[in-house]
Symmetry: C2
Subunit: 215 residues, 2 copies
């Protein structure tokens, strides 16, 4: 049995996650056992357990890795120096596309996503928070330069994420794909309009819930 | 066996749907049989089949009735003479509340909703369309009086519905209830801001997908 002695621990962990991800996608999460992963890697199950407590921990590692790719890209776009509105459009489109590529597909992928959302919500929540923070940093810059008329940056970022649910949430991307609705670009236009509104308190229907203060 | 001879056909249909709904909520859709519904009503199954072809047809009838209550209320609000922004807020809040009351709850209600969305999408789609039309009529009036700066009414209504997904979609209402995010009123503020934007083409990030023309 090859024990991959030459690899560092972090390389071994990466191998385990990559192999687990492939098996989850091919066989399905529920049907994949730690023994299957070990066998594919020519490792002993005990060796796998040295790195991951449980199959759930492996699943979380896989989910975190996939989500991290999206977060890294979102943060790279947020750090650009393009016009804030242009940058926000690029960021929102990219997250939508990357989520669709990673988390939408056949029943086996649904299973992985549903289990992540049910059993490892904290992992999903941390992901949503990092994406929201990247969005917030672009909105903050736009607010500073007067492009966006927003005072509560965090609320504006949360509202933007919520408005993007159809294009961000794996189950909604899947369910809404062929349903009537705005295109991704049209939805982003709508969001940019909300962020760009320059008159405050002039909306008679304004709730006075107030924290969306458009100055 | 009481055959409810005194009732009209439409009364009998209403009785069957009301009883079916109760059993679906209590026992679950999959476990409820047409025989159960018949027995509860002291009717013969054959008599039920005189009104509904199949259990699926009963389920669709139940779904249509529940959705119709929401549509009727939305249309009544749309027909009011209040300020369009105030009216739109009332309409969006009411749909959100009524959907939560009807379609969110325990596993048996999830089952009913999931089956409706998988097997009777046309019923759901007709419902979404009627709600969107009620929203569109309020936006149209706001646009005519200059409250909303929107030229493509249909797109604005679809974008509004899409932005409300967290508060309209039964599965999202359930899943997001305790998650960070804007309140219902804050989300409506965000949408009203998008509809109220008065400057067109001044958003550098504008996609030129163009159909959200804010004049």
């Amino acid at each position: 049995m090859t024990m991959l002695h030459d690899d560092t621990d972090s390389e071994k962990k990466a191998c385990i996650l990559a192999t687990a991800e492939r098996l989850f996608r091919e066989i399905g999460y529920l049907k994949t056992t730690v023994a299957d992963i070990a066998k594919t890697l020519k490792m002993s199950p005990a060796n796998i357990y040295r790195f991951f407590d449980s199959k759930k921990a492996i699943h979380e590692g896989v989910a975190r890795r996939l989500m991290n790719e999206v977060e890294t890209e979102a943060e790279a776009i947020a750090a650009k120096t393009t016009h804030p509105a242009v940058r926000l459009r690029e960021l929102l489109s990219t997250v939508s596309r990357m989520n669709a590529e990673r988390f939408v597909g056949d029943a086996k992928i649904h299973e992985m996503v549903a289990i992540a959302m049910e059993e490892s919500w904290d992992v999903c929540e941390a992901h949503i928070q990092r994406i929201t923070m990247a969005i917030a940093s672009v909105i903050a810059e736009g607010a500073k330069t007067g492009v966006f008329k927003v005072t509560d940056i965090e609320l504006a970022a949360l509202s933007t994420c919520t408005a993007m649910l159809r294009f961000f949430h794996p189950q909604m991307i899947e369910q809404c794909a062929k349903k009537p609705g705005p295109t991704l670009d049209q939805m982003i236009d709508f969001i940019l309009a909300a962020l760009t509104l320059s008159a405050s308190g002039t909306i008679p229907g304004s709730s006075g819930a107030g924290k969306v203060s458009h100055v």
